[in-house]
């Protein structure tokens, strides 16, 4: 039973909830970033080399943000078939992003930079890995919404779902850009 619809409020409670969840995810990465900064000022720090693939993946996740925005726009115009296409494209780009990150890891690993090589690279693996997990969570949600858009029985009128999805997806996008810049400057 969804009682949330009962309330007369300007912002939907679930939108609030998404923002709070984002704050809590930010706090986790703040914890990791500050640990990173603390470690950096200590002995034995080796400068990070960001694999080239990570820059390609940045392009991919930026493009995926665009497709999610297009999906949201199509939904607003009630062009459901277009909406489905854009959602599908976003999901594919999301998966591609994770694949590229994995390729980056494999390249690093094969060039001898394993997770335990040096604490700076350990951080790279943990931070990039945790971010990729958050992207994967978003991909799962995208796929669910994609499948639902074909269901004739449950036509969704509320734009809440796609709005939440877009908020989350832009967030993981911005988070990645922050992490990349952070690791380039601090690493």
């Amino acid at each position: 039973m969804d009682f949330a619809m009962d309330q007369r409020t300007k912002i939907h409670p679930k939108r609030y909830m998404m923002w709070m969840a984002i704050v809590s995810i930010i706090m986790m990465f703040v914890g990791l970033s500050s640990a990173f900064i603390v470690k950096r000022s200590q002995a034995n720090w080796v400068s990070l080399e960001i694999p080239l693939v990570f820059f390609y993946s940045t392009g991919v996740i930026l493009a995926s943000s665009l497709t999610v925005a297009m999906a949201k726009r199509a939904f607003g115009l009630r062009q459901i078939s277009r909406y489905a296409v854009w959602l599908g494209a976003a999901a594919v780009l999301g998966i591609l992003f994770v694949v590229l990150q994995t390729i980056g890891f494999i390249e690093l690993w094969n060039s001898g930079v394993t997770v335990s090589r040096n604490v700076s690279f350990s951080f790279l693996y943990v931070i990039v890995g945790l971010h990729a997990l958050h992207v994967l969570g978003g991909v799962v949600a995208l796929i669910v919404m994609f499948i639902k858009s074909f269901s004739a029985r449950n036509i969704v009128y509320s734009s809440l779902g796609i709005n939440l999805m877009a908020t989350y997806w832009h967030f993981v996008d911005i988070l990645w850009i922050y992490l990349l810049i952070f690791m380039m400057i601090e690493g």
Binding site: M5, A43, V115
Partner: protein
């Protein structure tokens, strides 16, 4: 039809359907009603009963290790029957001792006083007191309980692995917690412990999101933030602290997992273990302590704030007086929450921190005394010349204030780096935090259970048993922890297995035996409460429709039927016209929040 119109139409349809459903009481199977329930009231009872089970286990563990400390030269053959090789000859082994200490801390801090306290009362009271049909997302709320349940199952099973449960302390400092070779209890038991805490953090985050959003966004008409009961304010700050700090602990748990299993060196450096030099280099165990205490310190307020909120509500209701200094109470909640996030390093004065940094943390720590003192002052002034009704809940609330003062005063000692360096890791510290946040919050929880039991189960708990429970518990709490101050000042370190080899602590042998007896008595007394609780669920005096506001309280939860269904109010949610503390106003004993302001009265 545009999206918005369509949405609005759907909302109206949904609204109509929802109201119809409340009246008709939709059919539910046993499983959807009592097990995988999305009703906040059922979820709160699930948290409470799980919390009680954990409290018995955690309390029993403390009885066991106090027996080791109180009667170090005696043997108890039944221990061997229970623990086998872990208590050979009827004496608890050193490994088991540390597992018991670790588990006692973990269980009481996380499972009882976090999940059991704020899980129970945030869930139960938030929708009822702000005037909402349920949480913002009942489904996420259900998930929150089931993640807690999963965490409980993993933690409980960790006690049964062949190398024993985690024995590295509830603060799980590396390198001990990072190296399986370091101790039996740092092997599989530690992995399960970390998995359990991981699940627990997820549970707390899901719960916390709901609490905050429900308070901010789902209040009924007229329920301005300044009209909220103080319970709700305390739950909100508790949840915000959790949302901001648990993720940082999560990152520490992840990094520790990497150190344990993937050979990384976040927290490890230059270690020789059993003659073997480890390859780990460049890690810093101090970094872990920073990450841990960034949660660890707010955690004690996550434990204490709900108890403060419950106390404020119970003290005001049973003094028949408005709470003294409502806005000061809200302000001090805010101040405590904010300060609690910038004092974590006062746990690390002896960890090798820069002494200048220490003085900054000392300053912030001592500043917390200000809002804490404001709260104590307000509780005392609320009691002052009140028309006091000594219900068991009221006694436990006054007990909370007493314990909070006694334990809080020693916090001023410990917060000073110069004094802390001498009494750090001694029994003085144990006495301090058990009084101020352990037993005190437990008292807040008891107060809440006695006060809201009728609303939860539609029946009353037995008062006489409640009084006996209270008096034995508070006397024993002081008898246990007061002497520990002396032991601590004499330098007796905490966490030791056996003190009989130290000439300097031999004088405390009798005292430890005494504490051992008291611990057994107080633990046994808690079964009075547990009996009272479960017996009253089925056989207690019934709360009838005519007596549905037994404490004559102003807040919204007492306007619901004696046993509200899912949706809380039949028909419309009542509108709120005044704050929650209109007691003894004019010639009225109390005025419910739902009553409009009269022409001849001013708003508070």
């Amino acid at each position: 039809m545009t999206n918005e119109e369509a949405l609005q139409h759907q909302t109206q349809v949904a609204h109509g359907a929802a109201v119809a459903a409340h009246v008709a009481h939709h059919k539910q199977s046993f499983i959807t009603k009592y097990i995988f329930s999305q009703d906040h009231k059922i979820i709160s009872r699930q948290f409470l009963i799980t919390g009680i089970i954990w409290a018995v286990i955690g309390g029993f563990f403390s009885v066991l290790f106090r027996m080791q400390l109180g009667f170090p030269d005696q043997t108890f053959p039944w221990l061997e029957d229970i623990f086998g090789k872990w208590a050979e000859g009827g004496r608890i082994s050193q490994d088991l001792y540390y597992t018991l200490v670790t588990m006692h801390g973990t269980i009481l801090v996380f499972f009882v006083l976090t999940a059991g306290l704020s899980g129970t009362f945030s869930n139960f009271l938030i929708p009822l007191q702000v005037g909402a049909r349920d949480m913002a997302s009942p489904f996420v709320n259900m998930l929150s309980y089931w993640f807690f349940f999963a965490a409980s199952v993993v933690m409980f099973s960790s006690l049964f692995v062949s190398t024993g449960g985690s024995s590295v302390g509830w603060t799980f400092y590396p390198p001990l917690s990072a190296l399986g070779d370091a101790a039996e209890g740092a092997k599989t038991g530690m992995d399960l412990w970390l998995i359990s805490i991981f699940l627990f953090i997820v549970s707390q985050l899901l719960g916390g999101l709901n609490y905050v959003v429900t308070i901010i966004n789902m209040r009924t008409k007229g329920m301005f933030m300044t009209r909220l009961p103080l319970t709700i304010w305390s739950f909100m700050f508790t949840a915000i602290l959790g949302i901001l700090t648990f993720p940082v602990l999560l990152s520490a748990v992840v990094l520790l997992m990497f150190d344990r299993h993937l050979g990384t060196s976040f927290f490890l450096s230059d270690i020789v273990i059993q003659g073997k030099i480890l390859p780990n280099e460049g890690g810093s165990p101090i970094l872990f302590q920073h990450l841990f205490w960034f949660l660890g310190h707010p955690e004690v307020y996550i434990v204490a704030l709900p108890a403060m909120g419950i106390t404020s509500e119970v003290v005001s209701t049973n003094s028949r007086k408005p709470i003294f200094g409502y806005m000061a109470m809200v302000g001090s909640f805010f101040a405590i929450s904010t300060l609690s996030m910038i004092v974590w390093a006062h746990h690390m004065f002896v960890s090798g921190m820069n002494p200048f940094l220490g003085s900054v943390f000392t300053l912030f720590t001592l500043l917390i005394a200000v809002p804490s003192a404001i709260k104590v002052f307000n509780w005392l002034t609320t009691l002052w010349r009140g028309n006091i009704i000594f219900t068991p809940a009221m006694l436990f609330s006054i007990g909370f204030v007493s314990l909070f003062i006694s334990g809080g005063l020693t916090g001023i000692w410990l917060g000073n780096a110069a004094i802390d360096m001498h009494i750090h890791d001694t029994y003085f510290n144990i006495a301090h935090f058990h009084l101020v946040m352990g037993v005190a919050s437990m008292f807040g929880m008891f107060a809440g259970v006695y006060h809201w039991f009728p609303k939860m189960f539609g029946r009353f708990m037995n008062k006489t048993l409640g009084y006996i429970h209270f008096w034995i518990t508070i006397v024993c709490a002081y008898l246990i922890f007061w002497p520990m101050h002396y032991e601590g000042i004499a330098g007796m370190p905490r966490r030791y297995y056996d003190y009989s080899n130290w000439e300097s602590f031999k004088m405390f042998e009798g005292l430890n035996t005494f504490i051992g007896y008291v611990v057994i008595i107080v633990f046994a007394t808690q079964f009075l409460f547990i009996f009272n609780f479960f017996y009253s669920i089925y056989k207690g005096r019934k709360m009838t429709e005519s007596n549905k506001n037994p404490w004559k309280a102003t807040t919204l939860e007492w306007t619901t039927p004696p046993l509200p269904g899912h949706g809380n109010w039949e028909g419309e949610i009542p509108e709120v016209h005044r704050w929650a503390y209109d007691y003894s106003k004019g010639d009225r004993d109390f005025i419910p929040q739902t009553e409009p302001i009269g022409e001849d009265e001013g708003e508070h």
